[in-house]
């Protein structure tokens, strides 16, 4: 516990050193807010499963979920390997998985004020997005957001471990990011997907990274099951895969000369 507390407090201090950057990063994540404008306008004119107000709420929640689940561990890991800094991490009695996880968690806390500020700003700009959430669904949505962060982190950490073989794991991540962008519900809620595509998407891990928690937070009618099981299954799968890659990767790294 003390270990986790100290890790968080030091990394929080570290992240606060980058206040200006954090603000820009938070702002750079404003894509859903732009899409919010596009979709609410579209919904005013055409036939859509969601009303303009529902679209606005959904994209606002997408914005918040994405802010809470930003992950960059693959870049960090790749740099560590290329610059030989991984050796320092390997000499410490702490698995880098947890070290990076602590840094990511601390960044969430440092980013929070900017996110609140941006949210208030957009409430002012899009009054139709204002709503009073239902406590039960909202709490569930928050819990799922935490799970979504852990899933995204574990997925990207698994990709990061490919650095042991290619040194260009970030390129693999960029391919994943394309899939993420389309299938996660970042660009459009799954309600507007054609039925076969939607069913297919729901079998991948991506909708659970954004769509499911955002829809719950926005108070939409969504089925929690079997989605939650699929999400957990992917989570356990990636966790096991990452442990395996870590073991094999270390053997390779230490065989080649660290």
């Amino acid at each position: 516990m003390r270990k986790a507390g100290t890790l968080l407090s030091v990394y929080l201090a570290y992240m606060l050193e980058y206040r200006a950057e954090l603000f820009l990063w938070a702002l750079a994540g404003a894509l859903p807010l732009i899409l919010l404008g596009v979709w609410t306008e579209a919904a005013r004119g055409g036939e859509f499963p969601l009303s303009p107000g529902e679209f606005a709420r959904y994209f606002l929640m997408v914005f918040l979920v994405r802010q809470a689940t930003v992950v960059w561990v693959v870049w960090e890991f790749e740099r560590d390997v290329v610059e030989g800094r991984l050796s320092f991490r390997l000499l410490r009695p702490l698995d880098p998985f947890f070290d990076h996880l602590a840094a990511h968690t601390a960044e969430r806390l440092a980013r929070l004020p900017f996110v609140v500020l941006l949210t208030l700003l957009f409430f002012a700009l899009f009054p139709e997005a204002r709503f009073l959430p239902e406590p039960g669904a909202f709490l569930l949505g928050l819990g799922l957001t935490v799970l979504a962060f852990l899933l995204r982190y574990t997925m990207q950490y698994t990709t990061a471990l490919l650095t042991f073989w290619t040194e260009r794991a970030t390129s693999v991540e960029e391919v994943f990011f394309l899939l993420y962008l389309f299938l996660s519900g970042t660009i459009a809620p799954l309600e507007v997907f054609p039925e076969p595509l939607k069913s297919l998407a729901l079998l991948t891990p991506f909708p659970y990274l954004v769509y499911l928690p955002a829809a719950l937070l926005a108070g939409q009618e969504v089925a929690l099951f079997p989605g939650l099981w699929i999400m957990l299954l992917w989570g356990v799968g990636f966790l096991l895969l990452s442990r395996l890659l870590w073991r094999l990767g270390l053997r390779r790294y230490s065989g080649q000369g660290a």
């Binding site: 003390r2 201090a13 050796s87 390997l90 080649q256």
Partner: protein
């Protein structure tokens, strides 16, 4: 030497496979389809033992295999062959108990968090190594006093001078009070004062806590000041293991004669007496075989316009350079 060595290396060997590639488009394509490899023998059958509390210098030119050996002993790389036991553990199993007993400081790499005060990195390490709060404070104040770093702990690391940063690196690396210190070029790039300070600190740390130190350095002064025993490695093989003084005996069977002349002379005038290392104006430096020293000095005094004459041990750097030029003189 006590019964049980704290570092044991037996026939440690590391071979790497390096992909070969020539420069041309065709070669690039061939490289892409069918890679060819070459085996590099970084370390070849190195064996030694180090007793608890010893300070041992590790000498060798760049690429001799020093760092590879250190990486095997710290568990960062697997040897191709051979055995190592450090503080009772097989290093490359990387057990937590082992990691808590050792530290590796690399002069060319840093672990301190650049934008935060060094104290924050120390706090982080204290948490990672399970050091209780009270003990942590005690150790920081003790070590920062030994390093004269007390009033620098609250400044961001990027604002520290190179020397202060190295001291803070040492503090961060020693907070968990390791039994075995692997120091790879700890004084790299430091000015003379900082070098002396780091050196003094390592000596004091060894004395106070009985820690074992294996140290590589390009600065012979570091080795001379700290290590009574040296290991010399060249092209992956151990050439010498013994006292520093013995290294001079074995590889420097000559003395250096420094001369101050009444008037300048051409180089040819000295050739009969020894090898001319240096000749500038009125100053000359000759290397004279040890067994002919008396006779040569007498001849010099008789035939040259000598104002002053001094006989010295040759500089360690030159001895080492000679060792590396003639690897066949292996022990």
């Amino acid at each position: 030497m006590s019964a049980e060595p704290i570092i044991l290396a037996q026939d440690l060997t590391k071979h790497y496979r390096v992909a070969l590639k020539e420069e041309s488009l065709l070669a690039t394509l061939r490289h892409f389809l069918l890679r060819q490899y070459r085996t590099v023998k970084a370390v070849e059958g190195v064996s030694f033992q180090i007793a608890r509390g010893e300070v041992v210098g590790f000498l060798g030119p760049n690429g001799a295999g020093k760092t590879t050996t250190l990486k095997m002993l710290t568990g960062l790389i697997h040897p191709t062959r051979g055995k190592a036991v450090v503080a009772g553990h097989i290093p490359w199993r990387r057990e937590k108990a082992f990691l808590k007993k050792i530290t590796l400081v690399m002069g060319n790499k840093q672990q301190l968090i650049w934008d935060l005060p060094a104290l924050d990195t120390f706090r982080l390490n204290a948490a990672i190594y399970d050091i209780p709060e009270g003990e942590f404070r005690k150790r920081v104040s003790e070590l920062s006093e030994m390093l004269s770093l007390t009033n620098k702990l609250h400044q961001p690391v990027r604002k520290l001078s190179l020397g202060e940063r190295m001291k803070a690196e040492l503090l961060a690396a020693l907070l968990h009070r390791p039994e075995v210190l692997f120091l790879d070029e700890p004084t790299l790039g430091l000015d003379v004062n900082a070098q002396v300070a780091v050196r003094e600190f390592i000596r004091e740390y060894n004395r106070r806590y009985g820690a074992t130190v294996l140290l590589t350095s390009h600065y012979m002064a570091d080795i001379a000041a700290l290590a009574e025993r040296v290991l010399v490695i060249h092209q992956g093989r151990l050439l010498y293991d013994g006292p520093l003084a013995g290294l001079l005996e074995r590889f420097a069977p000559y003395r250096e004669v420094g001369l101050t002349l009444a008037y300048p002379l051409p180089r040819e005038a000295f050739l009969a007496f020894g090898e001319v290392r240096d000749l500038e104006g009125l100053k000359a430096r000759l290397l004279v075989p040890r067994e002919r020293l008396t006779e040569r000095v007498a001849e010099i005094l008789k035939s040259l316009p000598v104002e002053d004459l001094e006989v010295r041990e040759p500089p360690l750097e030159e001895v080492i350079a000679k060792v590396f030029q003639s690897p066949k003189e292996a022990v």
